[in-house]
Symmetry: C2
Subunit: 320 residues, 2 copies
């Protein structure tokens, strides 16, 4: 019985595949290599338990053929659907990006699952489904859900389609609402941006917004541990959980200072205006992980510890 | 300044167009005539204030050309996006129907509005976005939102895309969550089904489910009155309101009896099993309209009165 991972060559997908393979599980991974890269899965390619297929999930015919062929030799027990656009600002200027890569990939994955009677789905959702609810503590049952980015909108759209599918053909769905996840292989995000800026101009770091955005960060190893714990312990038809460090998060200005310290200690930090980094950015929010804690899970690293470790890991990765 | 109504040849669209034209407003209406019909707008076609275009909103090129051409002679101040699949069970067997007709029509409408800087949108959403939350009183801020039909899912997806658009380019959005709306010209729904069944087999009425489903019904005239009241009095960037009769609703078995009484008083009623009429049906729910009442609006007809009037109106329409 194989596990299908979509977006396997991305940041989280490659870490998840590595984890499953280490547990001797059979994995088929799909990626269009648009944002993911072969480098991220290079070390997995020799594992006989791993099969990689390069294809675009938006091409339903190719997707269907790939899965149909694979099923002739091995059955698929569950799907981890991680493929999505990860560049939120890009999706705001062009709605077609999140329509295709964030939503239609989910739509097609559900069509394939329905057709082949694969009935367990784990889905990478996001805190962005909550939109900007101000300073309210975001638990999983809060409303209203009015995302402020097309990325958040198309993740919420995906959740909605999954819940309708649970009513009609899925046995079980896991909806994991991700926070900002950090670690390596890093593909995007504030830490990577700051490092890139400092490597270009070592004496100054320009920060979008005034640095007062405060967000929680979770290390990818904690994220994967949380997802597997949930899947082991929660067995409702729809299992939906916030995943996060559960602390108050860390200010962008603190991240800026930590990156400056690690990369170019003499650099000056120049802040912009306002408390949003960009349109669609949620300036600050607090994420409740009480539901997850009730399952007996706690993160190993706080937001600050995760940021510190990720900076180290990214710099180590870049100096290879 | 014209008002664009999508789905203008449908049940609600045609009533809304009639209302606006009676107020001397300029209206451009679009419909693909897939579920709507020219009969519904026949009486409007001679009005010089009314322009009708038959096109499928999923065809973005044709949509863009139609609006581009129209804008050469008249500007558009707001869009009422009512076009959608209205056959919920059909959308459950084939997810492509709601993807196209319920979601992509919204996506394309937003693309057109962004392109032409039309910045006020009124959207026909639905109580189906709430899924099945049991006996809880459904206010607008309840969660979680896990629809159980693809129709509900694609309406929630549309809401999400609209809220993201408010963040980026829309000045104002009205999200109207419709209950079961009844009246004429009737296109679908339980009253029409019962009448059709009785006209076919006059001595027996077969009811899907055990008749214990209880739902609120609103007459289309009350619906339109509520929407216009909201638009007059609510001016947030996103104005989202449940619209309904605000009572406890009426049992399907009571509707069955009322239709039997009006059509074929000697018919026996045969009930099915279970409290769901079909997959994706929400057996009973209570819909809070407190937010709407706070604006000073109340419905003229209760659910029962609306059902009674709609039965009369539909029978009168059919005997024409």
């Amino acid at each position: 019985m194989a596990i299908l991972i979509t977006g396997v060559a991305g940041f989280i997908g490659s870490n998840l595949a590595r984890k499953f393979l280490a547990e001797q599980k059979v994995v088929i991974g799909i990626d269009n290599l648009c944002r993911g890269s072969l480098t991220n899965i290079a070390s997995l390619q020799d594992d006989p338990l791993f099969t990689f297929a390069q294809l675009d999930l938006c091409d339903l015919t190719a997707y269907e053929k790939c899965i149909g062929d694979y099923l002739k030799k091995e059955s698929i027990s569950e799907v981890w659907h991680l493929a999505a656009n990860s560049d939120i600002p890009a999706g705001i200027s062009d709605a077609a990006i999140d329509l295709r890569d964030t939503f239609m990939t989910t739509y097609n994955t559900l069509e394939i699952m329905k057709h082949h009677q694969i009935d367990v789905l784990a889905f990478a959702s996001t805190s962005a489904v909550y939109g900007d609810l101000g300073e309210r503590l975001l638990d999983e049952d809060i409303g209203p859900l009015f995302p402020i980015s097309n990325y958040g909108a198309m993740k919420l759209a995906s959740e909605a389609l999954i819940s309708a599918s649970v009513e009609s053909f899925l046995k079980r769905a896991y909806i994991y609402r991700f926070p900002n996840v950090i670690g390596t292989p890093a593909t995007h995000g504030v830490i990577l941006d700051f490092i890139a800026k400092l490597k270009k101009i070592p004496d100054q770091l320009e920060v979008l917004g005034n640095g007062s955005q405060k967000k929680g960060y979770l290390h990818v190893h904690d994220l994967i541990d949380a997802m597997l714990t949930i899947q082991e312990r929660a067995n409702d038809p729809i299992n939906y959980f916030n995943i996060g460090a559960g602390d108050e998060g860390i200010y962008v200005r603190d991240i800026a200072q930590m990156v400056v310290q690690a990369v170019s200690p003499s650099a000056a930090i120049a802040y912009g205006q306002g408390d949003k980094g960009w349109v669609g950015d949620v300036p600050r929010f607090q994420y409740s992980i009480e539901k997850l804690k009730k399952l007996g899970w706690t993160p190993k690293l706080s937001s600050e510890q995760a940021v510190r470790l990720a900076i180290e890991q990214i710099l180590a990765e870049q100096s290879k």
